[in-house]
């Protein structure tokens, strides 16, 4: 049986950063397992720029960002297996994996890092009536076809959903000669970054239809058109607003979900809001010695935050191997208050924090001129002015270790209050 100190599942930015950090913290026996033909994860298909502003202070493309970590991993001599799929893991940290060269493998690990990323919601997850012809793709699948295989998926395109991948693909398809007729968004605001709306839609005069959705797909073998309608405040289509768009392709950019079959099968406790494992300050899941980081925990919009969080997971996995984690002592829970939909990590052991506790969160709506208030056991410790908040943009907050140590620390709450209130 193969045996390693740390097995990392997934070779995207999360897995790469975790493995590198674990190695730098003194663990030599590490294996990264990746099911794809190369390392780098989803970044290899994200050829646009805007990655790395926080970590490298420059605007890199996805592949450039990935390559920096792949080169470092190789320099450090960390082992990895490509074209290898992890089937499941066991609570006692046995990893079952398979590839065509080694066949079925049972790998014994002292610690596991889950870094499987996320996948796109597909059409099944949302309900559109009509036929099921060819020409309906998720935006990410189209991105892979166009950017890696050089295969154009269509000529006249409608995009449903205004998340960043949808916006980026609207521009990409236009540059490659397709006509993007419209981007329809169910919500009254876009889930994507403003700069993407300007650079990807406005630059090319592509209309963004807010509070609109696709209600029907027409066509027998190939998409021939879609019907778009305006929706009311309950997101129900409004009769009489239907409009037909003749097109051969429909791209879906309707959200991402963490890829957690492996985590769920082994019985890791999940957070129903993030659809990822419940983790603590060390990025450790409810099962001791199993850590998680990146999009498998919660969907990130900036890869820089993925790297930051994954370094923490790698460092703590190394600490765990060396028996340096302080797991005694009290546990503080983080609680999303008014206006906040979730906070990661969900649990905190103050003794185990180095200097500051980093919390990531998302708000539940678009807000202007708000105060973000952090309280510990009901006592306010910090208040930050926020001029602009949107669900599409993750927020990060730091709390000093001292603030956590001198309370009973039962609960950290973060909520939004209007300025002046």
């Amino acid at each position: 049986m193969l045996a390693y100190d740390i097995v990392v599942i997934g070779g995207g930015p999360a897995g790469l950063a975790a493995a590198i950090e674990a190695k730098k913290n003194g663990v030599d026996s590490i294996l990264v397992i990746e099911r794809d033909r190369e390392l780098g994860g989803i970044l290899q298909q994200c050829i646009h720029n805007g990655f790395g502003l926080h970590i490298f202070k420059e605007e890199l493309t996805g592949p450039e960002y990935a390559e920096k970590f792949i080169v470092e991993l190789q320099k450090l001599g960390i082992e990895y297996k490509l074209d290898t799929m992890v089937l499941n893991i066991r609570e006692d940290r046995l990893v079952n994996a398979i590839n065509t060269e080694d066949g079925f493998m049972i790998i014994k690990a002292r610690a596991i890092v889950l870094a499987m990323g996320c996948r796109e919601r597909t059409r099944g997850a949302i309900n559109i009536s009509g036929t099921r012809p060819a020409g309906v793709f998720t935006a990410g699948t189209a991105q892979r076809f166009v950017n890696m295989e050089g295969y154009m998926v269509g000529k006249k395109v409608v995009i449903l959903g205004s998340g960043d991948i949808g916006l980026i693909m609207a521009r990409r398809m236009t540059l490659e000669g397709a006509k993007v007729l419209a981007v329809a968004e169910l919500m009254p605001f876009s889930g994507g970054l403003t700069r993407n709306i300007v650079q990807c839609l406005d630059d090319y005069d592509i209309p963004l239809l807010l509070s609109h959705t696709v209600i029907e797909i027409k066509g027998k073998d190939r998409v021939e058109g879609v019907v778009i309608a305006k929706v009311d405040e309950n997101k129900r289509p409004i009769k009489g607003t239907e409009k037909y768009y003749e097109c051969d392709t429909l791209l879906l950019s309707v959200g991402l979900i963490p890829e957690n079959e492996i985590s769920e099968n082994v019985g890791i406790k999940m957070d129903p809001i993030t659809s990822g494992p419940v983790v603590n300050e060390a990025m450790e899941t409810s099962i001791e010695g199993i850590f998680a980081c990146g999009n498998v925990v919660h969907v990130h919009d900036l890869v820089d935050f993925v790297t930051e969080e994954s370094r923490r997971a790698g460092k703590n996995a190394a600490k765990y191997i060396k028996n340096q984690i302080q797991s005694e002592g009290s546990i503080t829970e983080t609680k999303p208050g008014k206006g906040i939909s979730y906070i990661v990590p969900q649990k905190v052991r103050p003794e185990n924090i180095d200097k500051t506790l980093d919390l990531f969160m998302r708000v539940d709506n678009v807000y202007h001129n708000m105060n973000m208030v952090i309280s510990i056991d009901g006592k306010e410790i910090k208040r930050m002015k926020k001029r602009h908040l949107a669900p599409g943009e993750m927020e990060a907050v730091k709390i000093k270790k001292e603030d956590l140590m001198d309370s009973k620390h039962a609960e950290i709450t973060i909520s939004l209050v209007e300025e002046g209130a």
């Binding site: 290899q44 720029n49 592949p63 166009v146 709306i197 602009h388």
Partner: protein, 117 residues
């Protein structure tokens, strides 16, 4: 002249700014900071963008190599640059940062590889 309205994209705030030209002098309003003023003037006089796309590659792991303009180029040249980049084919091996098209369309900007392949 009528004020031109636009959204500043320098930071996530996305201020809706107004740019007005008066006797050759640009006046920017509703920007919350100075970077917004600079952006507004630039956007009106010479809007620039970084172009990221792919180029055909032979004997490589994939059929396409991602490339980018090393600096931002004038927005109105983006489509013409696409035509140039789509007309060429290169051969593996290529390393990240390698120049694929020098000084594209006389912009003074090189098109470089976004990864090794």
């Amino acid at each position: 002249m009528k004020a031109k309205e636009m959204i500043c994209i320098v930071c996530p705030l996305g201020c809706h700014i107004k740019v007005l030209k008066n006797d050759g002098v640009y006046n920017v309003t509703e920007n919350k900071c100075l970077r917004g003023k600079e952006y507004g003037i630039k956007e009106l006089t010479n809007p620039i963008r970084v172009l990221t796309t792919t180029v055909k590659i032979k004997d490589a792991l994939l059929n396409r190599l991602p490339v980018k303009t090393k600096e931002a180029i004038p927005k109105h040249k983006v489509i013409k640059c696409m035509e140039v980049i789509n007309s060429i084919e290169i051969k593996s091996p290529i390393s990240v940062g390698e120049v694929i098209v020098e000084n594209i369309l006389g912009t003074g900007v090189d098109v470089v590889a976004s990864r090794s392949m």
